[in-house]
């Protein structure tokens, strides 16, 4: 993607097997660098990046990296690159500055390490400028940062060209983050992107079908994917009180209250705005698939979400499976009275307020343990 954008990169190719890695290394000439291709940061620290000088070492090193697990992700591919003679390393990235409500170009002379680290330890090494989205990244802005970074006009010019291409990539693909880390100065006096990262704006995926193909579903929790498909937003946690809530803010507040009253939330789950009984039933199924869950708390403040839909969903879930886990329910707002009628004969525990509901669910989870 970065090469396509016209950003200079080392010669390199992706291998899925140790044998392919060797063939690529032969074509590039030794030494080469072999890097794990996984969708997380911190690969270098985890041992997922290795320099290889002899052709006979390529296969074993590639095999070793290919079998690795980095932050829970299995390495399926490696990138084999020509070895670049590095004189210095920089960081350059573009993201959205939420406070300024504009894109921001960030650069640092401390390349190769994680930028959060630099921000913590030596914030003075970080240069930034916000970008007017109607003007784009104007050459002088990039040049000024380039000068501060490289102290040399010729390099600053190279930096400007790279930063502008990076900005174009950021805009054209609707990114939330693009970064080159490290951007290196090689022995020939040229700047080269040695490693890069890009995050896309989830909200803009609908106009970038090409990004969907880049998605590695193996790196996402299968149950979280299933939830997402149904329009639920679910994140598994390690506690034992499952919760179904409408709205992300209320869902977080419910989790916080579980913790405050001595329990541990098993998940974050937002059933979303316009709920249907099917969605609610799926939400309960997802939570029940977590073996740690000892009690379930349903906390709904009906607005667009109708409480009768939620009630029908509970009935539906009980028809689909024999639910033994205690269910604490608190429903207020749109059609709450109807919901209570629907659930009149269902064995659930009713609560009137959020605090009461949370206390009951925490107590039930404790009893069941």
């Amino acid at each position: 993607m970065f090469a396509q954008a016209g950003i200079p990169v080392p010669r390199e190719a992706v291998a899925q097997t140790q044998f392919a890695a060797k063939t690529i290394a032969q074509e590039l000439g030794l030494p080469v660098v072999i890097k794990a291709q996984v969708l997380v940061g911190g690969r270098g620290k985890a041992g997922g990046i290795k320099r290889v000088a002899r052709i006979e070492d390529v296969q074993p090193v590639a095999a070793e990296i290919l079998g690795m697990n980095i932050k829970g992700l299995k390495v399926e591919k490696v990138l084999v690159s020509e070895c670049v003679d590095i004189k210095s390393e920089f960081y350059v990235g573009i993201t959205i500055d939420r406070g300024a409500r504009q894109p921001v170009l960030i650069a640092s002379a401390a390349g190769g390490v994680e930028i959060e680290e630099v921000a913590r330890t030596s914030p003075e090494k970080i240069h930034r400028c916000t970008i007017d989205p109607l003007l784009g990244l104007v050459p002088f802005q990039a040049r000024n940062i380039g000068m501060r970074l490289c102290q040399e006009a010729k390099l600053a010019q190279q930096f400007t060209a790279i930063a502008q291409k990076l900005y174009r990539l950021f805009i054209e693909r609707d990114c939330s983050l693009v970064e080159i880390n490290p951007l290196v100065l090689n022995a020939d006096g040229n700047l080269l992107a040695l490693d890069a990262k890009v995050n896309f704006d989830d909200n803009a995926l609908f106009r970038h079908p090409e990004n969907e193909a880049l998605r590695d579903l193996n790196s996402e929790e299968p149950i979280e994917i299933e939830a997402k498909k149904a329009g639920l937003s679910y994140i598994k946690l390690s506690g034992n009180v499952g919760c179904v809530v409408n709205g992300a803010g209320l869902a977080m507040a419910t989790m916080d209250l579980i913790k405050r009253f001595g329990g541990e939330p098993a998940n974050f789950l937002d059933v979303g705005g316009s709920s249907s009984p099917d969605k609610m039933a799926l939400a309960l199924r997802i939570i029940l698939s977590d073996p740690n869950v000892r009690a379930i708390l349903v906390n709904i403040f009906g607005g667009i979400t109708r409480c009768d839909d939620i009630a029908q969903g509970i009935i539906l879930a009980r028809q689909q499976a024999d639910i033994k886990t205690p269910l604490v329910v608190r429903l207020v707002g749109t059609n709450a009275d109807q919901a209570k009628e629907i659930l009149a004969t269902t064995p659930i525990l009713w609560a009137d307020t959020m605090s009461q509901a949370v206390k009951m669910a925490v107590a039930k989870a404790r009893e069941a343990r």
């Binding site: 990235g93 921000a119 989830d202 913790k259």
Partner: protein, 286 residues
């Protein structure tokens, strides 16, 4: 008084012929809001819920003198709808639409600023000045006219919090939206509540991510003389997967619930941990 909207606010609904647009037009009218026009390109001349529909916002403004617009169009069309409202010179645009691409919001906000138009949202429940008008999707029963100003990044949590201030009621409740880039932030609302003589206390409902709460805390310390209460959601939330790691550099050391709570406390904002404490805490200060 109330802020942003009142009984004289004249509202256009963009996307009035859609399911949500039609439903909430009815709900807003039932509440007493002056919904004077709807806009759906190609459907001009119709009437929805007793409201005349126009093909463009400019026509609707000209015909009805509307000063506020609320947007219900799908995410892919929200940018166009925002620009249309801004260029038709309404004063306030409330964008309910969820899932608007961040860069679209960024561009629309720049244009809005240069035209002196306020955007609230995107991805927000809207605004309600209880007893006067509602330009949004919140259930009316959660609110009551009174003296507390509420501003929140959330939807349903806003209703929960507001319902727990009902001993005192609210002047205006604003949901500013949960997206990373939004048109109106906490400080904008704090300013208006501080200047509003009827508002006697302010409740800020924040959540993890970004540094709007920290900025708000600083503002409160310097300029706000009314009692301010703060609630932060997400103390037990895992790091947001969507937040790229250059996001962390922008907030450098801020963005977690703990830091926001600390910022609140050091600015003299009384932190609320349980929504149900609010009435009682208000009683102690008012």
């Amino acid at each position: 008084m109330s802020i942003l909207i009142d009984e004289n606010t004249r509202v256009i609904v963009q996307g009035i012929t859609g399911r949500d647009g039609t439903f909430h037009t009815r709900m807003m009218r039932n509440y007493g809001t002056k919904v004077v026009a709807g806009v759906t390109p190609g459907k001009g001349g119709q009437e929805i819920e007793g409201v005349p529909v126009y093909n463009s916002v400019a026509e609707a403004v000209q015909a009805t003198g509307a000063d506020t617009s609320i947007i219900f169009v799908p995410a892919g069309f929200a940018y166009d709808a925002l620009l249309e409202a801004i260029l038709a010179r309404v004063q306030l645009v409330v964008c309910v639409t969820e899932g608007v691409p961040t860069l679209d919001a960024v561009r629309a906000i720049v244009v809005a600023r240069s035209h002196g138009v306020r955007i609230v949202g995107p991805n927000c429940p809207g605004i309600i000045s209880p007893g006067k008008a509602k330009v949004g999707i919140m259930p009316a029963t959660a609110f009551k006219r009174g003296c507390v100003g509420v501003v929140s990044r959330s939807g349903t949590l806003t209703y929960e919090i507001a319902a727990n201030t009902n001993e005192f009621g609210q002047t205006t409740v604003i949901g500013i939206g949960g997206d990373p880039v939004i048109g109106t932030n906490f400080i904008d609302c704090l300013k208006m509540f501080q200047d509003d003589p009827e508002t006697r206390a302010i409740v800020l409902v924040g959540e993890i991510g970004g540094s709007d709460e920290e900025n708000a805390a600083q503002y409160v310390r310097q300029y706000v003389t009314k009692p301010v209460f703060g609630f932060i959601a997400g103390q037990t939330a895992p790091p947001d997967k969507r937040m790229g790691h250059a996001g962390a550099i922008i907030s450098s050391g801020s963005g977690t619930a703990i830091e926001k709570i600390k910022a609140f406390q050091s600015a003299g904002i009384e932190v609320i941990y349980e929504p149900e404490e609010l009435n009682q805490k208000l009683r102690a200060r008012l």
